[in-house]
């Protein structure tokens, strides 16, 4: 789908990232886990898994891929994601 994003949406903002995280938070919290935004640095985003899923490689993969895809879809300027 070709649509031009307004400028503010193209930029990586804390609010924008939180919006993406909030899409999956209810599920994570229901399972005793959570995801935390550590920080936004330019185009890079760092998040951290907490709670029960924190040590699980599978959850790590799921969230890394999922959040990265969602961020890329919503923010044209998005660069990299690190899951701490």
């Amino acid at each position: 789908m070709a649509c031009t994003l307004p400028l503010q949406l193209a930029m990586v903002t804390k609010e924008g990232v939180e919006g993406v995280l909030n899409r999956v938070r209810p599920y994570l919290r229901a399972d005793g886990g959570d995801i935390e935004l550590v920080g936004v640095d330019g185009n890079s985003v760092v998040v951290r898994l907490t709670g029960v899923c924190a040590g699980c490689p599978s959850a790590h993969m799921t969230l890394h891929v999922g959040i990265e895809t969602a961020l890329r879809e919503e923010m044209a300027d998005f660069g990299t994601l690190r899951v701490a």
Partner: protein, 361 residues
């Protein structure tokens, strides 16, 4: 060609939805018939499983079941695949080779993706279905074949007919016993049952018991629209069984695609995103499938067994009346019940009006 897995009616997990139950009842009814079946359903809804079940429950079960995807072959190859060829029929035809129809002798042939058969080939297929004989490519001999034909398609054939992409006469020849398999998103109440079933299969394969599954996972699976239908759900369960390390199935075990689509940009129910043609295919009329059930709450607290049974019963009776043009004796025969029993049931289900309307129309 694939070899069928032994699928008995009882071992099959179909779920609780009235639609699937109706499909299942229909399969029981048509098992012993030799008529052509047309299975319509989106990718992953179980067309081949359905074909296998029909075969396994027919008197042809001790004969071959041959499944061919018509999408696999080019226009020239498909004729030789289906009907075989004689030595020298074309470059590379170094020996005689029987076609899939001959290989299925006495049994059932499942022609999947029938809509992918090119128009020129459709005429030939029609002849085979009408005369029950095949002629090998480059041959002059006519070989009689005793094969039950089940055709499968993802698309609405009627639509393709109106667009001139599918021969009308072939459509009518195939559409004798139509079955429409509902997409998984239209029967979300079946998702938990299917999930348990697949998790059990894949955890057992690893020699493990199924760990407890969190409510969040169930919710996510129910909210997800499953464009790949049951096949996609099966794959998701296989993934869970392969990656779960913590002794409990939690949302982290799901794939990113499922979790994020289930979460969605908004918390509104996700919009259907199927292609219109596929969607239309799901609505092909005629098989005895009750109207889609309203989205069931995640944990249905109560269902009325009697009501559900009556629902299935009246759907099938309606179908039989329609199929027999309102002739109750014929309808009773189709349902394998006595004529008098049918009368009673028609009254019980309150179908008297429809019965007379059908006879009048």
């Amino acid at each position: 060609m694939t070899t069928p897995q032994a699928v008995s009616m009882d071992s099959l997990v179909v779920g609780h939805s009235a639609r699937m139950k109706a499909v299942f009842e229909f399969l029981r009814i048509i098992g012993n018939s030799d008529s052509t079946v047309l299975v319509t359903g989106e990718s992953g809804t179980g067309k081949e499983v359905t074909a296998t079940v029909i075969h396994q429950n027919s008197r042809r079960r001790h004969h071959p079941f041959v499944a061919v995807s018509c999408a696999l072959f080019s226009e020239t190859l498909i004729e030789s695949e289906l009907f075989g060829h004689e030595r020298g029929a074309f470059t590379g035809a170094i020996k005689d080779r029987p076609g899939r129809f001959e290989m299925a002798e006495g049994g059932t042939i499942f022609l999947d993706d029938i809509d992918d058969v090119p128009l020129s080939m459709q005429v030939k297929l029609l002849r085979v279905l009408q005369n029950r004989t095949v002629e090998r490519l480059g041959g002059t001999r006519t070989v009689p074949v005793n094969v039950r034909v089940i055709a499968g398609t993802k698309r609405d054939l009627k639509q393709l007919v109106s667009e001139g992409k599918f021969r009308e006469d072939l459509f009518y020849r195939l559409n004798v016993l139509p079955i429409t398999l509902p997409p998984l998103r239209e029967r979300p109440e079946d998702i938990p049952v299917l999930m348990e079933h697949f998790l059990q299969r894949y955890f057992r394969r690893r020699g493990e018991d199924v760990p407890p599954v969190s409510d969040a996972v169930r919710q996510a699976l129910i909210r997800y629209p499953w464009p790949g239908n049951v096949r996609e759900l099966e794959n998701a369960c296989e993934r869970i069984a392969q990656t779960c390390t913590c002794g409990a199935v939690r949302v982290g075990c799901l794939s990113a695609g499922i979790l994020f689509r289930a979460g969605g940009p908004s918390l509104a129910p996700p919009p259907p995103r199927q292609e219109p043609t596929e969607d239309a295919a799901a609505r092909v009329p005629s098989p005895p499938v009750p109207a889609p059930q309203p989205m069931a709450p995640v944990r249905t607290t109560q269902i009325s067994l009697d009501d559900r049974i009556r629902e299935v019963e009246s759907t099938l009776i309606r179908w039989a009346l329609q199929a027999s043009g309102g002739n109750k004796s014929k309808a009773a025969e189709l349902l394998r019940i006595k004529r008098s029993t049918l009368g009673d049931r028609i009254n019980r289900c309150g179908l008297r009006h429809e019965a007379t309307a059908e006879a009048g129309g």
